[in-house]
């Protein structure tokens, strides 16, 4: 029996790139590296216009507070530092580097100097921090903070390979092609925190990956590969921990509060690369799919623009209406195609313009949203209370617990933009407090 949770749904998968091997995208002539590719305080540029930078050189950091360093993904000359709109629609500082195609690596890049079993927590955290690794599943929480904060509080590591969003296949391919990197990264985190147990969670629509990973682990590792039911949002860490261990993370708490640390598959692989080669996080796997001629799983240098990636995949197959960074359920619609990909870009989905006759918005009280809410809320009523400006009822019905996974809205036959109402409601509730 596969592990599962109550609620959720199974959207049409559309994983058309599941069989397409990961391909390395050539470096572009210019990259734009955002100073803020993570949750927390933006980094500050440590280079200036005209500087020469090596590939993998740290070009921005911020030692104050929750932050994560950023690195050059190509070697060349800094041609500008400017403000641009990032994929969230916010203004962020970007360092623009003109590629000299020499690919000269930063001389300080070197593998971890000691064997793994002699490495301490502090050393591993420092290594992860210097590599600029932040959560690559989309939430982009700086990983070194996560590991350091889990000290003496957790007893199990969970590697999240669920990939429950439709379309995306980057983790699936990574498991098949670089399964050892994922397992290696897990072992590094286990060593850092002194853990004896690790679950690698994979949905049962990726049976080949499950079988492959099982052949790569040994009995004494303390690692087990867990088959999860294919259901969205299985990859949400709350649902994941509940499915595996039947523990609910209390409202407002984090996995560490219930003794768990969850890292994404590609994050784990990035930790392994940083440890074994010293390479910082300067590229990532992106599933490029939807309305492009040649959908691919691409390993892309960070800072490459969306339009260049689309061109590399054969260009658009029609008039594009929307470009989504991340999955279709929770991803961000991009403002323009010049946006540069960042550490959290797991996928780029190009959507064609389509004419659809829609019904006027009307909740028919069918209860589908209630049944599919993984947080066990009553979304239809939350939408109603938002329309009625009824802040008291919104609080009573726990609007702040909504994780905005979009299950309710995906299902709604009455065409009600429930999540959008809830997002507005959260603002109202915050204001009233």
């Amino acid at each position: 029996m596969a592990f599962t949770f109550k609620g959720g749904l199974h959207p049409e998968e559309n994983k058309i790139t599941a069989k397409v091997p990961i391909e390395q995208m050539p470096e572009p002539s210019r990259v734009a590296i955002a100073m803020s590719q993570h949750i927390g305080v933006p980094s500050l540029p440590t280079v200036k216009k005209g500087d020469y930078v090596y590939k993998g050189q740290c070009i921005g950091k911020n030692d104050a507070g929750l932050s994560c360093p950023v690195h050059a993904s190509v070697s060349g000359t800094v041609v500008g530092i400017e403000d641009r709109v990032n994929f969230m629609g916010q203004k962020t500082q970007y360092v623009i580097i003109e590629n000299d195609y020499k690919g000269e690596l930063d001389p300080s890049i070197a593998p971890f100097p000691k064997p793994l079993d002699e490495a301490t927590l502090e050393e591993i955290v420092e290594c992860v921090k210097n590599a600029g690794i932040s959560g690559m599943g989309g939430a982009t929480f700086p990983t070194h903070f996560k590991i350091a904060g889990a000290r003496d509080r957790v007893d199990k590591l969970i590697v999240n390979c669920c990939e429950c969003e439709p379309y995306i296949t980057a983790n699936h391919r990574l498991m098949l092609e670089k399964g050892d990197e994922i397992i290696g990264g897990a072992k590094i985190v286990m060593q850092a925190l002194g853990l004896k147990a690790c679950d690698i969670a994979v949905e049962d629509n990726k049976k080949d990956a499950i079988e492959h990973l099982k052949t790569r682990i040994a009995d004494g590792d303390g690692i087990r590969v867990c088959t999860m039911k294919t259901k969205y949002p299985q990859g949400d860490e709350r649902q994941l921990i509940y499915a595996l261990d039947k523990i609910e993370i209390p409202t407002g708490k984090l996995p560490a509060d219930v003794g768990r640390i969850v890292i994404n598959a590609e994050t784990s692989s990035a930790i392994y690369r940083a440890f074994t080669t010293g390479m910082p996080l300067i590229e990532r796997i992106i599933t490029v799919t939807g309305a492009v001629a040649d959908p691919k799983n691409l390993r892309v240098p960070l800072g490459t623009s969306v339009s260049e990636i689309a061109e590399y995949c054969g260009g658009y197959t029609g008039e594009i209406e929307k470009i989504i960074s991340g999955g279709p359920m929770m991803g961000q619609a991009l403002w323009n195609e010049d946006t540069a990909v960042a550490k959290g870009t797991s996928s780029l989905i190009f959507m064609l313009k389509e004419e659809k006759k829609t019904l006027p918005e009307a909740c028919i009280h069918c209860g589908k949203c209630v049944a599919s809410c993984p947080m066990h809320l009553m979304p239809c009523y939350l939408a109603l209370f938002t329309k009625n400006d009824d802040v008291e009822s919104l609080k009573e019905f726990d609007v702040m617990s909504c994780v905005e996974c979009g299950c309710c809205t995906y299902q709604c036959p009455g065409n009600v933009p429930i999540v959008q109402y809830i997002r507005a409601a959260k603002g109202k509730v915050k204001k009233s407090m």
Partner: protein, 327 residues
């Protein structure tokens, strides 16, 4: 390249819309309609068409006059029209579904805000309204397989026939064969007679995940348990219970009326209590009330409790309850 559309997630939607759901309900009702035409003649179809046309036009005209977006495409008016006709005897005059349809669509549905906003099932409210206003038209049942004038505007002549409910009310087992009763060869309203085909329609809705089992099962089970326990002296309990289940509008009510989304609860617990309430009320009215049938009243009364049931069965939010072993 033209400007990109920027909207917040989710960016994909399930294809099931209200229109598709309502169309599924229509599909589920068609076998019973065909059977109604078979036992009661073409007039059954004639009345159904009038009813559907009235409901659709009422909604369309109201939307137009009130300058509201048209909701006719959602198919809900078609469902209401069919169900209203199903609740009429075939001997009803042709103007009865017209008045009923206008009452259902305008007074009960539109004036409360249209689809999703009405607090009572429009069809049942209209049925009760017609029942109170023209009791003789609403209770004159022709015998099955007897021909009536198909396209007459007024009430056609027919030898009136008692329904099995009247016998049951008097504490006797009806003379109709139980198998014929379940199949639907009995006197009654156009769409309520064939329990078998109504259950088949319900099964289709279950398979298509349009309805859940909670309301029909708890409703019918409650009636079954009570009629089994309180069968009158001198008759077999099981036989009495089976006749109670397949007489009148119980199956039509439990499968198609009580499960109306708008006027039923959204949680499983709420739905079970709702069904039990409908069952209790139905049996009380059948046993102790002034009418032989209580399904419509039972559902209408329970409709009024929907908000309270939803609130009472509000699920415990994830991370807010008991299961926090380690917290």
């Amino acid at each position: 390249m033209s400007l990109l559309k920027v909207s917040s997630s989710p960016h994909v939607r399930h294809e099931d819309t209200t229109r598709i759901i309502m169309s599924d309900v229509v599909i589920a009702l068609i076998p019973s309609l065909i059977f109604g035409v078979y036992v009661f003649g073409l007039r059954a179809l004639f009345l159904t068409l009038i009813s559907v046309l009235t409901c659709v036009l009422s909604e369309a005209i109201y939307n137009k006059l009130m300058k509201k977006p048209s909701t006719v495409r959602d198919m809900s008016a078609v469902v209401s029209g069919i169900l209203l006709a199903f609740n009429l005897p075939v001997t009803a005059p042709a103007w009865l579904p017209v008045i009923g349809g206008i009452f259902a669509m305008i007074i009960v549905k539109a004036l409360f805000g249209g689809i999703g906003k009405n607090i009572m099932n429009p069809v049942l409210a209209a049925r009760v309204f017609l029942f109170a206003s023209w009791p003789s038209h609403m209770t004159r049942y022709s015998a099955p397989l007897e021909s009536v004038n198909s396209f007459m505007i007024g009430a056609p002549d027919a030898v009136s026939s008692a329904t099995t409910l009247t016998d049951l009310k008097n504490g006797i087992i009806p003379s109709v064969d139980l198998f014929d009763l379940i199949l639907g060869k009995t006197a009654g309203c156009i769409g309520e007679v064939s329990s078998l085909l109504l259950l088949a329609g319900g099964l289709y809705l279950l398979v298509r995940r349009i309805i859940t089992w909670h309301i029909p099962v708890s409703f019918i089970a409650t009636v079954a348990v009570l009629t089994l326990a309180f069968a009158p002296d001198g008759v077999s309990n099981i036989t009495f219970m089976l006749y109670e289940l397949f007489s009148g509008g119980l199956i039509l009510g439990a499968v198609f009326m009580a499960t109306d989304y708008v006027t039923s609860p959204v949680t499983r617990g709420g739905r079970i209590i709702f069904g039990i309430g409908c069952g209790l009320m139905t049996v009380f009215i059948r046993f102790f009330g002034g009418y032989p049938e209580g399904v419509s009243f039972a559902i209408l009364i329970m409709n009024l409790f929907v908000w309270y049931l939803d609130r009472a069965f509000k699920p415990t939010k994830f991370g807010g309850g008991r299961k926090n072993a380690k917290a």
